[in-house]
Amino acid sequence: MKRVIVLLPLLLILSGCSGNWGWYVVDPTTTNGANNLHFMATGAYNTILMSLTAIIISVIAGLLVALPGLSEKKAWRAFNRTYVEIVRAVPILVLILWVYYGLPQLSGITLNVFWAGVFALALSDSAFQAEIFRAGIQSISKGQYEAAQSISLNYRDTMRYVILPQAIRRILPALGNQLVYMLKMSSLVSVIGMQELTRKANELVVSEYRPLEIYTILVLEYLVLILIVSSGVRWLERRMNSSEA
């Protein structure tokens, strides 16, 4: 609701100076405008698919990196710290370029644009996910581990049935933030030719020469996607809280 209130004056300003705008390029009542809008919207599929695939991989990788970070053994913790510090230090754009252009030379494995993008996004995000999981798991009281131990649950069952279900509830808002972040960062994969929202907008700008209008539509596209995601996360939080109350 708050965001809608902020948006309204913005739209009024935009419509007020319509003389400087060339909205015809995206006017849905004209054939050309409708085609352009459709062309731009088709990028949404790849943006969403790429972000969702990457977030799923990064959540799993993040958890797998977080668990050794909680170990009592120094070597496991060192692995966790090294992974997090190195991966976190590489800019996402650099990582995308490195995976797409560098990795094939290094390993002979050539990833297509989609998987190179997903891999780079997931790798980059996994370091943050690992930190989120670690903090979430550490916030669960020692008494929960002891209770699990007193009924002889092994490590795997303790994590699966006792610790993680509680930790995930606590880190859900942070996971939602990461998904929003992922949707935005996926725009960077356009540089290696991924046909997602940003790439489509770029291509249209080249043929239509109306960057202001087209990029404004692009902004709105991301805005809509992210509003849907954040309201979805809030709904999930409410549902989980009410099932506990």
């Binding site: 008494g143 002891e146 209770a147 131990q149 002889s152 649950l153 049935y161 509830r169």
Partner: protein, 248 residues
């Protein structure tokens, strides 16, 4: 009682937390069916003692034998006493995201390999024993402290342990809820369960304890029958402690 075998044997057990010595050369035998109450001032090592028995803490020196199994000094052999020792905590430590029934069936299903129906039947049996079968589908936070502690007792019983450890089970409860928990524990004692209870509830101790243990500064200062130690404490430290507890 004297002809029963020892279920727990502790010989010269010591334990440090950093520079602090929590247990100093502690020896204690607990026979099958025996009810032992441990009391003493805070920091005297009572909790550490029983936490060593179910491997929540690893001891450093000495020997602990539980039901014929010698516990090694490293903490990696809890499987061997799996299901033998149950524990009830001061803070209940129920799993807050699971219903009462799920709290009770988790161990039997995952550890003992019971089917869902078998585990539920067993859980309901023990919920009836602690007199709250009607709360089975509620979450822990919807229950009073006394009810939560009774669920915790039932959760331990579902694993069918041979020994039950109680670590100050009524210390976190409002006064009006203490009785309902003690009643359940008294019933358990009457049924023949081997119990070690760390508590300051002297009325309960008098009623059920076969053996009273008084600890101070990591040592066992005095051991005797409840009647003996209450009427004629041998050590000055225990006499002073009892006086404080009863006059507070």
């Amino acid at each position: 009682m004297t002809d029963q075998p020892n279920l727990i044997e502790m010989r010269g057990v010591s334990k440090h937390f950093g520079d602090f010595q929590a247990l100093k050369d502690v020896s204690l035998d607990v026979k099958l069916g025996e009810r032992v109450v441990i009391c003493g001032p805070s920091g005297s090592g009572k909790s550490t003692l029983i936490r060593c028995i179910n491997r929540l803490e690893a001891h450093e020196a000495g020997e602990i034998v539980v039901d014929g199994v010698t516990l090694t000094q490293s903490q990696d052999s809890p499987d061997k006493i799996r299901g033998t020792v149950g524990m009830v905590f001061q803070q209940f430590n129920l799993f807050p995201h699971l219903t009462v029934l799920e709290n009770l069936t988790l161990g039997p299903r995952r550890v003992l390999g019971l089917s869902e129906d078998e585990a539920k039947a067993r859980a309901m049996l023990h919920l009836e024993r602690v007199q709250i079968p009607d709360q089975a589908d509620k979450l822990p936070r919807q229950l009073s402290g006394g009810q939560q502690q009774r669920v915790a007792i039932a959760r331990s019983l579902c694993m069918e342990p041979r020994i039950m450890l109680f670590d100050e089970p009524t210390s976190a409860l409002d006064p009006e809820m203490i009785a309902e928990v003690l009643d359940v524990m008294t019933e358990l004692a009457t049924s023949g369960m081997t119990m070690i209870v760390v508590t300051h509830e002297m009325g309960f101790a008098r009623r059920v304890a076969d053996k009273m243990v008084f600890m101070d500064k990591g040592e066992i200062v005095e051991v005797g029958t409840a009647e003996d130690v209450f009427t004629a404490p041998k050590s000055d430290r225990f006499a002073a402690f009892i006086k404080q507890i009863l006059n507070h």
